[in-house]
């Protein structure tokens, strides 16, 4: 054992040395602040500070789970999260593959640059645009509906449409940005593999299936596993701006609830408790997903 360690030090000494400053960073700026997770079990009072605030056990968690709307907001969170996982997650992969199939370099670069634009607009601005298009009275779409004698639809305040709207705008906003990482991954695939396939007479679909997808498989697995870590974060900025009392039945989520009850009311302990709950769920999922990924040799640690 001692011998093995010595051996490892000789072989990987430089490696450990390279790792050290980064680890120190993580300890100081990430791990030390984690002490404050204790606030989840405290009646946190800013003036008394973390240590002096009284312990209250699971009370913050109980407040959250016993809330009248707990079922509704957890349900909405899970649903929106699931939709985003099913639709928003693969979207950039598909876009990257579509771009990859484009042979004209100029076209490819133009499309790439244009699709990445929405990432730079804040949700406040995007919502302003949505209102201009979809407002029930003056919105462009409803004015058209009106001209053709159709019934006006209040897209932004209809609880039946809000989830689809959230997911669609999310895909639209993030697809170009998300595709970048897959494009980088595609660039790493050895072109000689394609040449060999062509010689073998493999169709484009077969090339996609046997060369392209395996080539980016590990990145997909990595991003999927890491995505699971934030399964209960469904995009506060977006939902907060799109949420209103007419659609909240289907759109109020954990984060917006925490904002109202925890942050605005200054209940830091409660906000921390809900954050901890979300973290633990994410942690369990990541552990599980990593075990699964191991079967494909795609584990991330």
């Amino acid at each position: 054992m001692v011998h093995a360690t010595k051996n490892a030090m000789r072989r990987y000494g430089v490696m450990y040395a390279l790792l050290l400053p980064g680890l120190l960073y993580f300890v100081i700026f990430k791990y030390v602040p984690m002490v404050y997770i204790a606030a989840a079990f405290k009646d946190y009072n800013v003036l008394r500070g973390l240590w002096e605030s009284p312990w209250i056990g699971w009370q913050n968690f109980e407040t959250f789970f016993n809330g009248v709307y707990a079922g509704q907001i957890i349900g909405n969170t899970l649903l929106i999260s699931a939709y985003k996982l099913i639709f928003s997650f693969p979207a950039p992969i598909i876009l990257a593959l579509m771009l990859n199939a484009v042979t004209s370099n100029g076209f490819k670069r133009t499309i790439q640059t244009l699709t990445y634009l929405p990432h730079f607009l804040s949700w406040v601005v995007i919502y302003g645009l949505l209102v201009a298009f979809l407002a029930p009275g003056s919105g462009l779409v409803n004015q058209l509906f009106n001209t053709f004698g159709l019934e006006r639809i209040s897209f932004l305040t209809e609880s039946g449409m809000i989830r689809s709207l959230i997911v669609t705008t999310d895909i639209w906003q993030s697809v170009g940005w998300g595709a970048i990482i897959y494009l980088a991954s595609l660039a790493g695939i050895d072109p000689s593999l394609y040449e060999a396939a062509k010689v073998d007479g493999a169709s484009r679909w077969r090339q996609l299936w046997h060369i392209t997808l395996p080539g980016i498989r590990n990145v997909i697995i990595l991003l999927l596993v890491l995505r699971l870590s934030a399964i209960l974060d469904v995009g506060f900025d977006q939902i907060f701006i799109m949420l209103n009392p007419l659609n909240q039945e289907n759109a109020d989520v954990i984060e917006t609830w925490v904002y109202r009850v925890g942050m605005q009311e200054g209940r830091i302990g409660l906000a921390t408790a809900v954050g901890l709950f979300k973290s633990i769920i994410g942690f369990v999922l990541v552990l599980g997903a990593n075990k699964m990924a191991k079967k494909f040799d795609g584990q991330i640690w």
């Binding site: 790792l19 640059t113 645009l129 462009l140 921390t272």
Partner: protein, 290 residues
Amino acid sequence: MEQVTIWNRLGKGLNYTLLTLLAATCVIPFLYVISVSLTPISEVIRKDGLVLIPSHITWTAYEEIMQGGRLFDAYKVTIFRVVVGTLLNMLFTVTMALPLSRKAMPGRSGFLMFVVFTMLFSGGMIPSYLIVKEVGLLNSEWALIIPGLVNAFYLMIVKSFFEQLPEAIDEAARIDGAGEISILVRIILPLSMPVIATIGLFYAVWHWNSYFDALLYINSPENQPVQLFLRQILLASVAISGDAAEAANSVNPVSVQMASVVVTTLPIVAVYPFIQKHFTKGVLVGSVKG
């Protein structure tokens, strides 16, 4: 054979059409933002904000936000944090990713878990502020850089790309007697240009877009980045005092708001086309052969 080409052509046509449509929908918001910024406010209101092409152009909104020089001070801060911050981010990320990509290194999975854990659990805003204060970074532009030195997510991505490099190249270099650092600089980095460019872009954009750290850590006006400038213009209508008689006066016209979106967004958007060349196929083989 004939059939295949027809399907191929159809597929190609469909692919081009869909991509063009998607790109078109992505251009609309920018067209909207730019048009509103150039349109007289009365026209914007008359058309309920729906101006995609301005009927006549006015630059008053831009003149208004350029005045006073605050915007240029803010650019200085932002450019500093983007350039210096991204360089430091890359340095630390790459030096961490290299050891973490060595599958045989003892303790590796423990370290990886140590990193991933920080993506899941966080102590929140208060302790982070206390650390920044204890380290003495409060009110310094370094407070915008040091606390975000390594992004665990990006670190994992770089590490995963490093893992995929053919080990044979690495081993060959080692047999030639090259040290770890020279392997990194001479072989791994050139081979990893796509991911280096990507993560560099991600860090740069993150730096460009962040404002919350500046909001908390920076008090002096001369150290405020452009995103705070933008927020101040967008959110001037937020009446904290709830004083109805004062609230209305502080609102910036929507054309001024959109003009500030333009000036705070265009510079970073313009970076992307320059980075794209690193995404071209064949980088790997080319560099190995060369």
